[in-house]
């Protein structure tokens, strides 16, 4: 992103600013508050609370994992806490539900997972970038109509998004974009919430002094944004990205209306199809589909870990 035109003056200025930010961040990375030695009691209480919360959040998922190996009658007729079959029969039970899942999705399950990844990944990427840009613009610049823009976006957040699906469908129909990937990606990459997160974080963690310093060094606005601001806002962007990614991943109403080709469906549509057909009772297979669908989100979450640490440059200039 930053190595396109190394010769220019602003590139050098940006590089300097970035180096400075990196240095400060490195200093702080090892700077854990060691002197804050908690007492044994505090430590025990903390661990107990955190573990209890972990059990609350993970127990239903544990249940779902167990359930994903069961047939409809085992779901209601066996111990909910453990597999209904012996360990040796488990692969067979898993294979059975897996084949139900594939059968239900007409062999397209992994294709649909791939579609979901494309929809969620692309719209989250675009959505995060435009949201942070807009948030930064309203936090750090004065421009005509700024307050109106903020007010309108804020106001639209109150409108139930699900109800906008029908008019969105009509509009996309009119421009012949229904039943295309864009018909899902475009609506999903706009998030008033993402905008507000971007704005709040830009307000609180991008120091004006840092921007001024970069400007005095002759860096262009675009370069300041892409090399300095984006790095500072990394944790906020990770949050927005995850939000958009999961929101798109879980959305079923929009794809339900927008696409009809089997090859364009996201995986949630298959899951929703199971749920919405009252006669479908194979909920074990449904759980398996949902759990397989969570895997990419886990991978993504773990992959984004290191960006969480990147936000320490916030106090760069002050410090």
């Amino acid at each position: 992103m930053s190595t396109v035109n190394v010769d220019s003056k602003e590139a050098r200025a940006a590089a300097r600013a970035r180096k400075k930010a990196d240095k400060i961040r490195d200093q702080h990375a090892n700077d854990l508050p060691r002197s804050m030695q908690p007492s044994a009691l505090v430590k025990t209480v903390t661990v107990v609370v955190l573990v209890a919360a972990l059990i609350y959040f993970l127990f239903p998922i544990y249940w779902a994992i167990i359930a994903s190996t069961k047939t409809p009658s085992e779901m209601t007729g066996s111990n909910g806490l453990w597999f209904a079959v012996g360990i040796t029969d488990l692969p067979g039970a898993i294979a059975k539900n897996y084949s139900t899942l594939l059968g239900w999705t007409r062999g397209q399950f992994w294709r649909w997972v791939l579609n979901s990844l494309i929809y969620s990944g692309v719209s989250a990427l675009i959505g995060t970038l435009v949201a942070v840009m807009a948030g930064y613009a309203t936090a750090k610049f004065n421009f005509r109509g700024k307050n109106i823009a903020i007010g309108v976006i804020m106001g639209c957040m109150l409108m139930p998004a699900a109800l906008l699906t029908i008019p969105q469908y009509s509009i996309f129909h009119a421009v012949h974009l229904t039943n295309t990937m864009l018909s899902i990606i475009i609506p999903c990459c706009v998030s008033p919430f993402g905008f507000f997160l971007g704005r709040v974080y830009a307000q609180t963690s991008v120091p004006n002094e840092l921007l001024e310093a970069a400007r005095i060094d002759g860096a262009s606005e675009a370069r300041i944004f892409f090399t300095i601001v984006l790095r500072i806002l990394a944790p906020a962007m990770v949050t927005i990205f995850l939000f958009l990614f999961v929101a798109t991943w879980n959305n079923f109403l929009l794809p339900l209306m927008m696409v009809s080709s089997d090859t364009l469906k996201p995986v949630t549509l298959g899951l929703y199809g199971m749920v919405s057909l009252a006669t479908f009772t194979d909920r074990g297979a449904l759980m398996m589909g949902a759990l397989l669908g969570v895997l990419p989100v886990i991978v993504l979450f773990l992959g984004l870990q290191r960006y969480w640490q990147a936000g320490l440059a916030a106090g760069a200039v002050k410090g």
Partner: protein
């Protein structure tokens, strides 16, 4: 007004197109199908939207269609499955019809057909339907008609029958299914004393099942001089209310909602040993039971429990209708007649076909579960015993209200009879809100 609306949409579209251009993400990955242009070099293209289960082990709709496409190179059909609820599918099709891009054929439940017609989504295909009339049972065929005109062909039916576990009945000393209401209630009390239930009260199915049971002895909706005569509190309705109220009061009936896992559990643990059910529920009972009572279950016709004099009523079942924009209704109907008469394939999807072109055979695993009985022929008998029940446009709102009211009766905060009085007011309101006339 319609044209003004269209102009507004066009205006919005123009603005939208402009913004698209500015955003610079115009026309890549435009993989849309060309539904608008359905004829291509002498080949007629037909699109068909359904929401059949297409579950593991069934003959998939796409495979059935592939057979047709192979034999008919000049009429190529593309089936798409809608992965949502019936009400959502109607909503999507409604929008599609308005913009002129709806599929040629779509699955529509009998209860929703008048509503879909009123919404302006159907095409009159009477001239093509006549020649296929004899391929289908007359009852279902008439349910695809509105005002004497045909809009498609029937696919499957849902006559109400009685499922029961014969061996369990005998254990309780009930040698045969009681035929009168009082005998039945006495038997139900006897069973309940032993912790068994020979009837289920399903609040979430009230709109379909209770209306069907009440309808066995006479319809609710009649047309007189172009106005609707609504009476949901018929003698049949009163008999149904009385029957279930007595059972509920005596706690001699299960109250698990049909699509709640507890219903499955009640079959699995052997507590529920008899219930009214739609014919298409047979394979569902088999999966829910997990083998409990396999070989012991039987299918019987409804007794004379609701003043129904041997008649039964409809619960579910669907037609496939020709939608308004279809440019090739003749070819669509030709395919449809073929598709809806693929009896064994449709049976594999769990349907009781409406076609009479050949005898639907009871699949082997069904007859194993139902003690070797030829249950398909029982369903056929029920089909021929079906009372006339006309649905009104907007019935889905009535059914929704009935379910909600039925739930109140199951926990004691309401009465079963309330279902029918609520149905009356909701029916009249719905018709009036649609701008239709109601004879009071």
């Amino acid at each position: 007004m319609v044209s003004f609306n269209k102009r507004l949409m066009a205006g919005l579209a123009a603005v939208a197109a402009l913004s698209m251009g500015l955003a610079g993400c115009g026309s890549q990955s435009n993989t849309g199908t060309s539904e608008g242009d359905s004829s291509d070099g002498g080949v007629v293209n037909i699109t068909y939207m359904h929401r059949l289960p297409d579950n593991d082990g069934m003959v998939l709709v796409n495979d059935i269609v592939a057979k047709w496409n192979k034999e008919h190179p000049d009429i190529q059909v593309k089936a798409t499955k809608f992965d949502g609820k019936a009400s959502e599918m109607i909503k999507k099709l409604e929008t599609d019809v308005k913009s002129g891009e709806a599929p040629d054929l779509a699955q529509v439940g009998y209860a929703e057909l008048p509503e879909v017609f009123t919404k302006g989504m159907l095409q009159d295909v009477t001239q093509y339907a006549e020649q296929y009339k004899n391929d289908f049972a007359s009852g279902p065929y008439s349910l695809v008609q509105v005002d004497g005109k045909a809009y498609g062909l029937p696919q499957d039916t849902g006559p109400l029958v009685y499922f029961y576990n014969k061996a369990e009945f005998e254990k309780l000393g009930i040698t045969e299914v009681p035929q009168s209401a009082s005998d039945f209630i006495a038997a139900a009390k006897k069973a309940a004393a032993a912790g068994k239930y020979i009837m289920s009260y399903q609040p979430d199915e009230a709109g379909n099942m209770i209306s069907g049971l009440a309808g066995a002895s006479g319809g609710w909706y009649k047309v007189k001089d172009n106005a609707w005569v609504v009476n949901t509190e018929t003698d049949g309705s009163k008999a149904v209310a009385d029957f279930y109220q007595q059972l509920l009061d005596a706690k001699a009936v299960t109250t698990n909602p049909r699509w709640d896992p507890t219903f499955d559990a009640s079959i699995k643990n052997g507590e529920l040993i008899g219930t009214v059910a739609a014919a298409w529920e047979a394979p569902l009972f088999m999966t829910s039971s997990g083998g409990t009572g396999s070989g012991e279950w039987q299918v019987a016709q409804l007794g004379d429990w609701f003043g129904n004099a041997g008649k039964t009523g409809p619960d579910g079942g669907s037609a496939v209708a020709v939608l308004k924009n279809s440019k090739h209704p003749k070819e669509a109907m030709e395919f449809l007649d073929w598709f809806n008469t693929q009896i064994s394939d449709l049976v594999s999807q769990g349907l009781v076909p409406a076609a009479t072109t050949e005898d639907a055979k009871t699949p082997d695993d069904w007859s194993t579960f139902f003690g070797g009985q030829d249950i398909m022929s029982e369903f056929k008998t029920a089909n021929n015993n079906m009372g006339d029940f006309t649905y009104m446009p907007g019935f889905s709102a009535v059914a929704a209200k009935m379910n909600e009211t039925a739930a109140k009766a199951s926990d004691g905060s309401g009465k079963v009879a309330d279902i029918f009085s609520e149905a009356q007011t909701t029916s009249v309101d719905t018709l009036k809100n649609l701008g239709l006339s109601v004879a009071e």
